[in-house]
Symmetry: C2
Subunit: 404 residues, 2 copies
């Protein structure tokens, strides 16, 4: 028995460079099925559902959809809102009023939890509908998934940025500390390692939230690199924590929390400035700079992984196919099947919702201040085959005449 | 009478994405002339000359040179050093010892001044040589020049970054303050305006060092935009100054000075954090973020203007041609001759060296908080013809049922 009704698509959490690929995948695939009578987009995620702020995408031209797919950041806009019991009930009312039977929510682990709750409440209310969570997050921290759409493009931005930072720092040496996004999982910060083609290249040190951050060790590590190379590039996750698991950032600034209880870590240069100050004072190095990449990492126009684009499109298409195959609901997950190939499955919400995948131990070096070759092998195929080729002058040294 | 001897090339000041195009232009063009017996590269600018740290580029393969040309940041490495009387004498000794008769220095206005001094000292010492300054700076602040190599690519990075920032901020609204490079001249900060395709797009406000920064007016400006659009994106030059001409940054942190007397403004998030705090406190807006683009602006791999690449190559080639035409020395300058075309001239050092071109009044709006259409018309052709095309969903609003 086919379930006939409208479909609604929403986007939640932080945007990515390819999140609209998933949106467009869902729209185009939905329009192939007669069960789906209309395709709506909810404006600003679940907030749009509550307010019935829908736009009708049924007649959106394919040409414009393909252009939107190439445009970064959530085309339907986003939200950090999390529905409680009461709001979930209101959402169900809206779904019923519009005869919405298919709900696709593109988001991270918090969004997955939202879809899980709605799916359960619909069942309790005996309102038949299919709720599918479509993965995206630059943090790459969804359980079960080999990786998540959005991460490869953000990782490519970070890797290319560090290639430039490394060349810049070679030209004008000093200590350069860069703060990267990553609340609990260090995957994005770890991507900086791709810039390191030779041992003398940066980043020379990488600090991740998965290992306790000891200020003394950090200073000693920087000294060691600086003494050897006369310069030092350090990649640091914004979420680095002390031994007790408290983010270092919370010591420095009054931090906010969102509806999911997440502490705000981005959008300030405080952590970088703090670490730079430590190095200046402790090591008496003159040129110490810190940069915080901030929101550029998730929205930069013009630095996208083709692999990421393709997979983000496919998770959208597969979401519709899974929903039409009479499955109540679940989360679309990406599984690596070869080097390099993937397949998509529909996984149980409980395995993903409100959980966080961290960097496995095999991807972090023993000292906890860099990544392993295994991590580089994991990431490299995700970046696509068009990473820039950089080179250097090979001319031989000229014999000195005056300064022999 | 032909002047026979070696040529030396050096790079000074902050790197750019296309500075190696100029280097390669000089090397390839030099190798065409029999007067030039060898082509040397000085490692780390004038520091390399003093130490006789030269590499021989005479036999560098053209293939590798073309790859280096595509690699951002100074391939010969750079310096902030400025020679005094004694060092200039030492440099002349080195030139004489190696029979170096051609000196090409790729750099900004401080580097132009260095070339001027060497040129004068050589003349005083009756040592015949040709000294040419080849322009580069992302700051776009060289007198006489319509614009400078390096600026278009940095401007393209800034414009593309703001396109993403704007989309991100539309998805998750708030106040977002971005600090950009620009000590005295606001050209790079002004480039953010290219991201503003519709009046509701950011950047909504742009503050430049050319206008006094009044904190009260800034807060009022942000309030006005925020009240209207529910969000506000602000582009701010790191070099913004108070009415007395003191950089706001110097109030916030202990700043360093380099050999040219320039205050260090980059490599800290202090200014952005300060401005964000003002908005939080004064306007009681919850989501206020600041990002400081930092060194990314001059070294990002993979965001280059083709116009910039071509011109950076040509100023290198022209430098050699001017030197061979029996001219003692000067600075290669770019002049706009059409929309869009340029020609190159050799200008007197005194017109460029140690001087700073600021944004002309016609490029800044009356209120001093944005740019004019004239500025956008000036910048647009420099960015090349491959700026990303972004779009949005056009679906019509769905009629509400419950929330009528």
């Amino acid at each position: 028995m086919k379930l006939k009704g409208k479909a609604v698509i929403a986007q939640g959490g932080g945007p990515t460079a390819v999140i609209n690929q998933s949106l467009v995948g869902i729209v185009l695939e939905s329009r192939k099925f007669t069960e789906i009578t209309k395709v709506y987009g909810a404006i600003h995620g679940i907030t749009g559902i509550l307010k019935e702020d829908f736009i009708d995408l049924t007649d959106e031209t394919t040409e414009n959809l393909e252009q939107v797919a190439m445009t970064p950041s959530s085309g339907l806009f986003s939200t950090r809102e999390k529905p409680d019991e009461e709001l979930t009930k209101q959402m169900l009312n809206v779904f019923q009023a519009h005869n919405i039977r298919y709900f696709f929510y593109i988001g991270g682990n918090d969004s997955a939890d939202t879809v899980r709750i709605i799916c359960e409440k619909a069942k309790e209310a005996n309102y038949e509908m299919r709720c599918i969570h479509v993965p995206k997050t630059i943090d790459n921290d969804l359980m079960i998934n080999d990786h998540t759409p959005g991460y490869p493009s953000a990782a490519k931005f970070v890797a290319q940025a560090f290639m430039g930072i490394n060349l810049d720092n070679k030209a004008l040496p000093g200590v350069h500390i860069i703060i990267l996004m990553g609340r609990h999982a260090g995957f994005l910060t770890a991507a900086s390692a791709i810039a390191q083609r030779n041992p003398e290249d940066g980043p020379h040190l990488i600090y991740l939230p998965e290992r306790a951050f000891i200020l003394d060790s950090f200073v000693k590590d920087v000294k060691k690199v600086y003494d050897k190379h006369g310069r030092c590039i350090v990649a640091v996750s914004e979420g680095i924590q002390d031994k007790e698991g408290r983010p270092i950032m919370t010591r420095l600034v009054d931090t906010e929390k969102d509806a999911h209880g997440n502490v705000q870590l981005s959008g300030t240069g405080a952590l970088g400035d703090f670490l730079a100050q430590q190095i200046k004072v402790e090591l008496n190095i003159k040129k110490v700079r810190s940069d915080t990449f901030g929101y550029l990492q998730r929205s930069f126009v013009g630095c996208v992984s083709h692999v990421d684009q393709q997979e983000a499109r496919e998770v959208g298409e597969k979401a519709v196919q899974f929903a039409l195959l009479d499955k109540l609901g679940g989360s679309v997950t990406i599984h690596r099947t070869g080097d390099y190939s993937v397949e998509y499955q529909l996984s149980d919400f409980h395995k993903i919702a409100a959980k966080t995948k961290l960097m496995p131990d095999e991807y972090i070096n023993e000292k906890g201040n860099h990544v392993t070759e295994a991590f580089k092998n994991y990431l490299t195929p995700l970046l696509g085959n068009d990473m820039p080729l950089l080179t250097f002058l090979k001319g031989s040294k000229v014999e000195k005449i005056l300064n022999k």
